[in-house]
Amino acid sequence: MNAPDERPDPAPAGPVDRLRRLAPGLRSRPAAAGEGPDGLEALRARVADLEEEVGELRRLNLRLAELTDVVQELLLPLASSDPARAQEVLDRYSAELGR
């Protein structure tokens, strides 16, 4: 991630504001892009990088949801169970996953 601003958010911001905070270079690059083909190429590369980085962040959602589900549905019941109950919890979680 490029130079994230770690200060707290002063006010609610829209997605464009947030992207600009994540990538301050975006503020000036559109102007630079007009200056020649190199600027445009750099902007293209920057957009591609940003798309990749946004994708990387989005992918955390599913991972976090899966881990939360395992903690809620498996680890918590397992932590407070006897061995027979633990097996039951594992079997039940498995049976209710669908295909």
Partner: protein
């Protein structure tokens, strides 16, 4: 008046069409419509240098191509205008081409390019049974704490015609999540699915925010009811699996109702607004060849948030869909023989990505307790049934390596078991995605936390030509594999380049049917 194409040629590969505007064509076999296509938007369309200027070659959808073997009267029409109508011979097959399923029901190509029994071809009783099943599912969804409504094609049919869309073949339900964050939307979808499983439904997950319920109605027709999560996020409606549009809550809730085949079903507050958002302003005009084409940014967003757990799944399911009808496969792969030579007879084997299960059964019959895992249960269904009947000691279960929670579940289950253990993973690391490969190492590390070896085989990146696509494999660099596994606490105890050889097994479109490929074998060890 749009310019219509000339049908220049027709053969087993597809249609050769002359230059035209983007028009909707119907393809009929012996007078029955089986496929519709838009000439400029049809999948696989390529310019044809051999035809007249502007000509395009349009391939048959794969399942239709397989069925086109024999004589048939082929008609291609655009509305009332017939462009082609003649007897053709589509292959050496002696019988007339009949597009029917095993029970003799008429099939058509659906909007995913697959053959299916369309609603227009099903009887009244089957329709009534499907509606009964839908009503039960709606009640169970309400009980799960969400407010379901009909969406997509089902809503379209109800509003436009008061009936199912004739060329459609599944039921679409959706609900608006009370959550906004994708993590909470996913957790809610998991919870709803669990509730339905407890209520006795057979479900298959598509993504973090959608799954389907599989039904077999009494005449044997298989139907699916899709259950899509929706959410209002930053003034937009996110609706799996295609929508991200500016939207107002009042257009969804409180729900209203629509009438479908004489029955009242829950609908969003403004059904027409959702149809316009889904199908565009021309939603009132029937389009049997409609295919969703969401903006790339929408696909990126929904992919990023929810998808990635079904990579290549449809291909593998299709490859194995007929495996249950194939003859037995008995011959094991070399990697299974190697494992058997290296490990004690009582060593439990976990065959990850077991496919049709021949290695699992071969090892079980030599004394190993064996568990075969694969995300496509069609593959092992036959040998699983035989193993249970004959008491071979090979057990099988479906496990999706792409879902972290399934990997953690199986890792935990295996780690609890007593006794020595080995993991066999033949053409898994090179078949799955990066996510799946990372999960494979995690599963092995958990399953072998008491010590044990992972037997791995994969293909190397080919120099030339590239690997045939139908193998569903991609080459891996042994250095990369070695470093990934070392980072999981294992060490490589044996490795060698190998030929992935032909084993003379029945055709399943698999790697066995190919000439030798360059492969690599690694045995890794985790110490207790």
């Amino acid at each position: 008046m749009p310019r219509l194409p000339e049908v220049v040629d027709v053969d087993r590969a597809g249609l050769l069409l002359g230059d035209s505007d983007d028009v909707l064509l119907d393809v009929l076999l012996d007078g029955r419509r089986v496929w519709s296509l838009w000439t400029e938007r049809v999948a696989g369309r390529t310019p044809s240098p051999s035809g007249p200027p502007g000509a395009v070659a349009v391939p048959w959808p794969r399942e239709l191509a397989q069925a086109l073997d024999g004589p048939v009267r082929m008609t291609v029409s655009c509305g009332e205008t017939v462009l082609l109508d003649r007897e053709v011979v589509m292959g050496p097959g002696p019988d007339r081409v009949r597009l029917v399923d095993r029970e003799g029901r008429d099939l058509v190509v659906d909007n995913h390019g697959r053959l299916a029994v369309a609603f227009g071809d099903q009887g009244e009783e089957a329709t009534a049974l499907l509606l009964d099943a839908t009503a039960r599912l709606l009640a169970d969804l309400e009980e799960a704490g969400v407010e379901p409504f009909v969406a997509y094609g089902t809503l379209l049919g109800a509003v436009r015609e008061g009936s199912f869309v004739g060329h459609d073949n599944d039921v679409d339900l959706a609900y608006l999540s009370s959550h906004e964050h994708p993590v909470d939307v996913i957790l809610e979808s998991y919870r709803v699915q669990r509730h339905l499983i407890r209520a006795g439904h057979d479900t298959t997950r598509y993504s973090g925010a959608a799954f389907r319920v599989d039904l077999t109605v009494s005449d044997g027709t298989r139907r699916t009811i899709d259950v899509f999560a929706g959410a209002l996020v930053e003034g937009h409606l996110m609706l799996m699996g295609e929508l991200w549009v500016p939207y107002d809550r009042s257009a969804l809730l409180p729900r209203t109702s629509v009438v479908l085949e004489g029955r009242s079903l829950p609908a969003p507050a403004d059904p027409e607004a959702l149809l316009a958002a889904t199908y565009g302003p021309s939603w009132r005009r029937p389009d049997p060849a409609f295919a969703y084409a969401p903006p790339a940014a929408t696909t990126r967003r929904l992919d990023g948030w929810f998808r990635g757990t079904r990579a290549a799944r449809n291909h593998w399911d299709r490859r194995y869909s007929d495996a249950v009808h194939h003859g037995p496969v008995r011959k094991p792969h070399d990697l299974a023989r190697l494992l058997h030579r290296r490990e004690a007879e009582d060593c439990e084997v976990v065959d990850v990505g077991c496919g049709r299960g021949q290695d699992a059964v071969w090892l079980a019959r030599r004394g190993h307790p064996v568990l075969g895992l694969d995300f496509s249960p069609n593959g092992f269904a036959r040998l699983h049934a035989r193993s249970q009947e004959e008491g071979w000691g090979a057990d099988f279960a479906s496990m999706n390596l792409l879902e972290l929670r399934q990997v953690m579940l199986w890792g935990a289950r295996l780690a609890r078991r007593e006794g020595p253990r080995a993991v066999l993973a033949r053409h898994v690391a090179d078949a799955t995605s990066d996510r799946g490969r990372r999960h494979l190492w995690r599963l092995a590390a958990m399953a072998l936390s008491g010590g044990g070896r992972l037997y791995l085989e994969f293909v190397l990146p080919p120099a030339d030509p590239p690997l045939p696509q139908h193998l569903l494999l991609h080459g891996l660099d042994p250095d990369q594999v070695r470093s990934e596994v070392l980072a999981r606490g294992a060490r490589v105890v044996e490795e060698a380049a190998v030929d992935v050889t032909h084993t003379g097994q029945p055709p399943a479109g698999g790697i066995e049917d190919e000439t030798p490929l360059r492969g690599y074998r690694m045995v890794m060890e985790w110490r207790a």
